[in-house]
């Protein structure tokens, strides 16, 4: 069984994001970029399925600028066997990415596609569900446990009130939540090995996909700043303030 793992290059989660002064976006110049943390969990889960003998091959795929090669090398250092870069300078939105991934999936014919539930840059939480729709596959989003056997995946999902477990027929899409696993660190020998693993580069036109954005960004602004309040000396003062100043308790 083959597993496809889409990965996204995003601003590193430790970087403090700054809105550009002209309001056109956030400042990405000279900022550290990394693999989207949820996608790292996806690569790790695919590797565990391969190590358990469920999967035979793990293929990483990324859509975006040339520098996404680094993200794919990271995926291969964690253990992916090979990778595909769909290279474009166009600002890709989730629907376009889902269409590109659907085209790749039709060529690669994986039984399972595992990807992060959301990217920490646009926080859209759309790509996996859209990909499932375009392929007509079942979906198991926000996964905290995945068991694959007998042509089915049994997936425990993080939902509003707790957990739910569903069974989906394969092929299927799984999107990862934080508690699915703890990704391993890539070791130096594996980072060296990843440099020699195959990487195919294709263009959206090769896949016959129109990637034109559907949403125009009118402006990007700083959220209203919440100013620090006061420090209170003791509990009595705190209760007095909550009752008489903020009036949030009776």
């Amino acid at each position: 069984m083959k597993i496809l793992v889409p990965v996204k290059r995003v601003i590193d989660y430790n970087v403090k994001v700054r809105v550009k002064a002209d309001g056109t976006g956030v400042d990405l110049a000279n900022v550290k970029m990394s693999m989207n943390p949820f996608d790292e969990i996806a690569v790790e889960e695919a590797m565990r399925l391969k190590e358990a003998g469920v999967a035979t091959e793990v293929v990483a795929v990324s859509c975006g600028v040339t520098a996404c090669q680094e993200t794919l090398r990271t995926a291969m250092a964690i253990g992916a066997d090979r990778s595909i870069l769909v290279e474009t300078d166009v600002d890709l939105q989730p629907l376009a990415v889902a269409k590109l991934l659907a085209a790749v999936a039709k060529k690669e014919a994986p039984q399972l596609i595992i990807l992060g539930k959301q990217a920490i840059d646009d926080d859209a939480n759309q790509t996996g569900q859209m990909l499932a729709a375009l392929l007509g596959w079942s979906q198991a989003t926000f996964a905290s446990k995945v068991v694959v056997a007998d042509g089915k995946a049994t997936v425990t999902r993080e939902v509003d009130g707790g957990l739910e477990t569903i069974e989906v027929s394969l092929p299927a899409i799984v999107t990862t939540d934080l508690r699915l696993n703890e990704p391993r660190y890539a070791t130096l020998p594996n980072i060296m090995k990843a440099k020699k693993k195959p990487m195919e580069v294709v263009k959206p036109a090769d896949l016959g996909v129109d990637v034109a954005p559907r949403l125009a960004t009118v402006s990007v602004s700083e959220p209203p700043k919440r100013s620090a309040g006061i420090k209170v000396a003791d509990i009595a003062t705190l209760i007095d303030k909550l009752k008489n100043e903020a009036k949030v308790i009776a």
């Binding site: 729709a133 939902v159 707790g162 705190l238």
Partner: protein, 310 residues
């Protein structure tokens, strides 16, 4: 112009999140319809018909909608999408699961987690864990939108008298099957809808302390209990307690953060609360930068004192 709001419910009752989505629809403007898809969900339809500002409730009642699986639900919404300018759901785990599937089937973009409406095509949504706000304009014929519930007041759940109409169910696609749910049982208010939230972080030390100290305080205040990701990762409480970028987004009247340092990812989930109280022994903890009232103190002494004094 008509707008379709997807009801969030558990077959027995309409969930409050639907009311916030209705308000977002009203801000866009037009005739508001609610779609109730479920199994044995007549009571939900009746409640939906009473929501102020709703013109029509459309009900698809069939066994295979009972568990709200995305494949069946999305197919039903798409089959009934004609004539609607906007398809709207609350950004709950169901809404987030289903609506992107709808958008892709309609070949349109989804606009996720809007917090305000500029006009019928233009919306504001947080990006980068709320560290920036993007105003985006859609060029698609149908706008598929999820609504961050904290961004919109709840519509009144009485006073309306919408017509209720049954619609044909689609076929069961049979692609996924619910095996079971383990939902947290609690007499406390739901986190997402609570007026007061008491939330604990890594500073609680362990799960026993979390329960022993915060539950009595929450009981006194009639509050919901929340937690930071650090407390969830450390196993103090289940994940559905988590407030933050990857957990729940909340905006109660009063948020009491106990032993929470205030990582960006946590602040993203609670910084729109009306009043924030922080109790932490570290005076330099970032939580104090957003707190209206900060108390630098050992929580193990301060929390019981607070509980006793209320």
């Amino acid at each position: 112009m008509s707008l379709l709001v997807i009801a969030e419910h558990d077959n027995a009752g309409l969930k409050a999140a639907t009311l916030n989505a209705v308000t977002a629809a009203a801000k866009i403007g037009g005739e508001i319809h609610i779609l109730v898809a479920g199994a044995g969900c007549g009571a939900v339809a009746e409640q939906a018909a009473k929501v102020a500002g709703v013109a029509k409730v459309r009900v698809a009642d069939a066994a295979h909608y009972g568990d709200q699986t995305a494949e069946n639900l999305a197919a039903l919404i798409v089959a009934n999408a004609a004539g609607y300018s906007h398809i709207i759901a609350a950004a709950t785990s169901n809404g987030k699961n289903t609506l992107p599937r709808v958008a892709a089937l309609l070949d349109v973009a989804q606009i996720s987690e809007i917090i305000s409406v500029v006009d019928a095509d233009t919306f504001v949504r947080p990006i980068y864990a709320g560290n920036a706000l993007a105003t985006v304009k859609s060029s698609d014929a149908t706008k598929v939108i999820t609504v961050r519930t904290t961004g919109f007041d709840a519509a009144a759940n009485s006073g309306g008298s919408a017509a209720v109409e049954a619609i044909a169910a689609g076929s069961d696609l049979g692609q996924s099957k619910l095996l079971g749910r383990e939902l947290t049982k609690s007499a406390r208010p739901e986190l997402a809808a609570a007026k007061i939230i008491v939330s604990g972080g890594r500073g609680m030390g362990n799960g026993e302390n979390y329960h022993a100290l915060l539950e009595p305080l929450a009981d006194k205040l009639g509050a919901a209990l929340g937690a930071s990701r650090a407390a969830v990762d450390a196993g103090f409480v289940p994940n559905d307690y988590q407030v933050g970028q990857t957990g729940k987004i909340v905006a109660p009247q009063l948020y009491i953060a106990v032993g929470i340092s205030g990582a960006i990812q946590h602040l993203a989930g609670m910084k729109d609360s009306k009043v924030i109280v922080a109790i932490n022994k570290d005076p330099d903890a970032p939580i104090f930068q957003v707190a209206d009232y900060g108390l630098v103190a050992d929580l193990f002494a301060a929390v019981p004192e607070l509980t006793a004094a209320l």
